[in-house]
């Protein structure tokens, strides 16, 4: 049977000659584009920490210019074994570096929370999931690209911004001190940027990425599941479970578990910056031998797998 001729065009100027052979696109390339997409959509991922960093730098430059020339600084003298032998009390010029790192880390931590809770929820809310699903990108690739933001990208970004900002602060500090004839010994003695940046890197990946992985993946799971208010669905059920346990069993295992997860393994001090001495940090050997790390990672994998399945089944809201 011949098709209706008047309804169909008689020539196809573009279709025939432009039908180029379809190039293969690797999953890695698709993942790359998906992560780029996340950064287009959620510009707060880098704008928020950069803004905080810029404000810190401005405030710091202002205070460095105003510091009295006859200030006495906190210095400590240590012997070869690292034991403090003499402490001179005064202004601690290093403390501000710790605060700067902490502020940037707190910012990206908040960004990660809100990002993870929104990642698989907003695309259903604005129905754009139908557009994303019309493209040959699997649910696995999509969810992995979203998980990589709190698990890899944000820790990395935190590290880069902190290292750059601390270097700039030190540069300003030394320049101002030299120009105004203030002794810089206290700075050089207390601030070991290279060592600090390595410690910071370890801290970010051990705690913010690996130890918190089940938290981020739980948030992603809830954002793929919730029909509304993912923040409440993510936080209230664990709290309710803890309260229920206290009321019925008179024990506090759920809350202890939550506290353990949020606070980090003993000795790791989750919320402090990378300027602490090595002794206060959990050694990598000890950290990777913590069972809580591995149960957490296993849980994270389960949450992530569930989020991938949910994205497949869930319809737009």
């Amino acid at each position: 049977m011949t098709p209706q001729t008047e309804a169909l065009p008689t020539s196809f100027p573009n279709a025939a000659d432009q039908a180029a052979p379809a190039a293969r696109i690797s999953e890695a390339r698709r993942l790359f584009w998906c992560i780029r997409r996340e950064l287009w959509e959620n510009r707060s991922i880098y704008i928020a920490p950069l803004t905080v960093a810029a404000l810190i730098l401005l405030g710091f430059a202002y205070s460095a210019l105003r510091i009295p020339a006859d200030s006495v600084f906190l210095t400590t003298t240590t012997n070869v074994n690292g034991v403090v032998t003499r402490t001179q009390h005064g202004i601690d010029p290093i403390q501000i570096y710790t605060i700067a790192a902490g502020l940037i880390m707190a910012t990206t931590f908040l960004v990660a929370i809100f990002y993870s809770l929104d990642a698989l929820y907003s695309e259903r809310r604005d129905r754009s999931i139908l557009f994303w699903k019309s493209l040959p990108v699997s649910d696995l690739t999509t969810v992995l690209s979203k998980a990589s933001i709190p698990l890899i990208l944000l820790p990395l970004l935190t590290w880069v911004i902190t290292v750059v900002i601390q270097s700039l602060m030190l540069l300003i500090n030394i320049t101002v001190f030299h120009a105004r004839g203030i002794d810089t010994t206290a700075l050089h003695a207390g601030l070991l940027l290279t060592q600090n940046s390595i410690l910071l890197f370890y801290h970010l990946f051990a705690i913010h990425a690996l130890w918190y992985a089940p938290i981020w993946c739980w948030f992603l799971l809830v954002s793929a599941w919730a029909r509304r208010t993912p923040l409440l669905w993510a936080t209230l059920p664990p709290i309710a479970l803890g309260v229920l346990e206290i009321i019925t069993l008179h024990s506090g295992h759920v809350f202890a578990l939550l506290k353990y997860r949020i606070h980090g393994p003993a000795g790791s001090d989750a919320f402090t910056s990378g300027t602490m001495p090595m002794g206060e940090m959990l050694s990598p050997a000890h950290f990777f031998a913590t069972p809580g790390l591995w149960t957490g990672l296993a849980l994270a994998a389960v949450f992530l797998a569930a989020a991938i399945q949910l994205r497949r089944y869930r319809n737009p809201l």
């Binding site: 279709a15 379809a22 287009w40 129905r127």
Partner: protein
Amino acid sequence: MPTTIQATGLHKSYGSSVALNRIDLNVAEGRILGLIGPNGAGKTTLLNAILGLTSFQGTLTVLGRNPWTQRDQLMNDVAFVADVAVLPRWMRVSDAIDFVAGVHPRFNRAKAEAFLARTTIKRTSKVRELSKGMIAQLHLALVMSIDARLLVLDEPTLGLDILFRKQFYDSLLNDYFDHHRTILVTTHQIDEIQNVLTDLLFIDRGNLVFGCSMEDFDTRYLELMVNPGQLPSAQALKPIQSRQVFGRTILLYDRVSREQLLPLGDVRTPSIADVFVAFVGQPNQQPIPPFSQPPAAPSSYTGAAQ
């Protein structure tokens, strides 16, 4: 002709409500199939099953693949516009092109640029800054630049003005369609796509109630505005539907020759909408005379499988 879509006993129910009732469907390559049905008839469920967006019972093969279990591979060959409003509002026009070019092996960037050059859409605009018509143009520019073997359009022109709708279907035929692609389209603006389609399918309450090719449609169905006094002889020819307009009776016939009807009144070719009403029915209409029941609903259609 190779088969693009093949369904046997395709079934989907949500709890106790049946969205698709054991449908058999066969769509050959190179057809433009219009899927017409009232709201809640199961159109979107059928499309979602074909696009691998929902699970189903029975067998369904799209381009040789099971859309639910082999969706990732299938989407290399299928493009769809689910809704004109689903482009993410935060996205820049240039980002949208970059992204589709980045992930789709069959996307022709030059073609998309050429489509957009014909519009007033700025490359630096965000989707939220575009009018509804422009968003539809952008979405279409993206989709029509994908060298897909099956294109599914679910209400692609919903809420757009008549000029744009006309332009849309012209563009679909002239710039996109060739005889190796298959297009599946649903719309409520039935009459506008009458000249676009090669095949027609009515769906009602989860059943396929009517299916035929447009060649058949044009030769089979006639509508008669009966002259007063000739109603009995007109009804003797077994119309499939009867309705009243300005006090005159209009009868719809299937496979009755024009020559037989001409002496009885004014004869014209009915629109898709007229036939649709006859098959899907309307509670406000005159009841169909008892001697001319519409044909029993065959929940299957293989007409597009030549």
